[in-house]
Symmetry: C2
Subunit: 187 residues, 2 copies
């Protein structure tokens, strides 16, 4: 089964309260461009993420607002920042890394919220059924090319609002010379 | 067959003439620490690598001197520098990327020399024989862990001076959460 790949650069999800602090009271995230997942978008807003060791500027805020604050980075970013975030699904933030987010209007010290996202596939329940993936939690994916391979432990995220797509972080993408829109194969 | 992994950060190999230009006439590279491959060392000398788009500072020069100038970077570095280097074995530099190297004493515009190194294994002829790898050009390697997988197209570099080791760049290492000294398995 072929699947298209979306490469996720480092990004941030924010709550209403966090946006108030970082960008100003009642500030509304503006859509820069739609993402493939229904309702999700890249906003025009950027923040800096900062640790004791270092910082990374121009980290994009994705919308819409969420019920939790989450900073998704790569292992390469983690070395630069001097932290060791766990590999987690979105929203599974207990005992993840603390980090500071700095916006134009203020900053926010999170005691947890920074993770490396699991490799994952978004799909509808009907697609899980059609493709024989019902009940499975993870799959392996074959990536072709000069630095190809097979990546394991790719989580299946079945939801009623999903565009069928494999999400990889920039480390997985760059290691395999994969770019946005390339195709992988579910094994 | 298990094999230990060495992670190669971006680095530079230089000729006598290049060291003369970058660091001064007859400058000798000083050994900072030995590498596992016999005779090879990380020197105390650092350069900046630069393109039209961007630059990366503190890139280490490895010793001893070579017959060619070569800059080895990751795909992540390549995006930052705005170039598209080919994946190549050491010394195979025809039509590779141009890049500028800047040292404390001068700079050098290379018309070619910048590559992404192939995933590769160093081994002795006797080890190739012992492990049943004689005549093979490439192998696949299994990497364990939370972001594990199998990497393909790993080149075998058989030579009379070799320490048995798999060399990965930082993209491959970080994608798989591998650090220096971790263990992989030849399939």
């Amino acid at each position: 089964m072929k699947i298209s790949i979306g490469v996720s650069n480092r990004h941030v999800h924010l709550t209403r309260e966090a946006v108030d602090v970082l960008f100003g009271l009642n500030f509304e995230l503006e859509e820069k461009n739609k993402l493939n997942q229904p309702g999700q978008f890249a906003s025009n807003s950027l923040v800096t993420i900062k640790t004791e060791k270092s910082e990374i500027t121009n980290v994009r805020v994705l919308g819409p607002l969420r019920e939790y604050n989450q900073v998704e980075i790569s292992k390469t970013d983690a070395y630069k920042l001097g932290i060791n975030p766990p590999v987690r699904d979105s929203g599974d933030l207990a005992d993840s890394c603390g980090i500071t987010i700095i916006g134009p209007n203020g900053s926010l010290d999170l005691s947890e919220g920074c993770i490396i996202a699991t490799r994952h596939i978004h799909l509808l329940p009907s697609q899980a059924k059609l493709y024989g993936l019902e009940g499975k939690k993870t799959v392996n994916i074959k990536l072709d090319g000069e630095k190809g391979g097979i990546i394991t432990n790719v989580h299946l995220k079945v939801s009623d609002e999903a565009f069928f797509e494999l999400h990889l972080d920039t480390d997985d993408a760059n290691a395999h010379l994969i770019k946005n829109g390339d195709i992988g194969e579910i094994l």
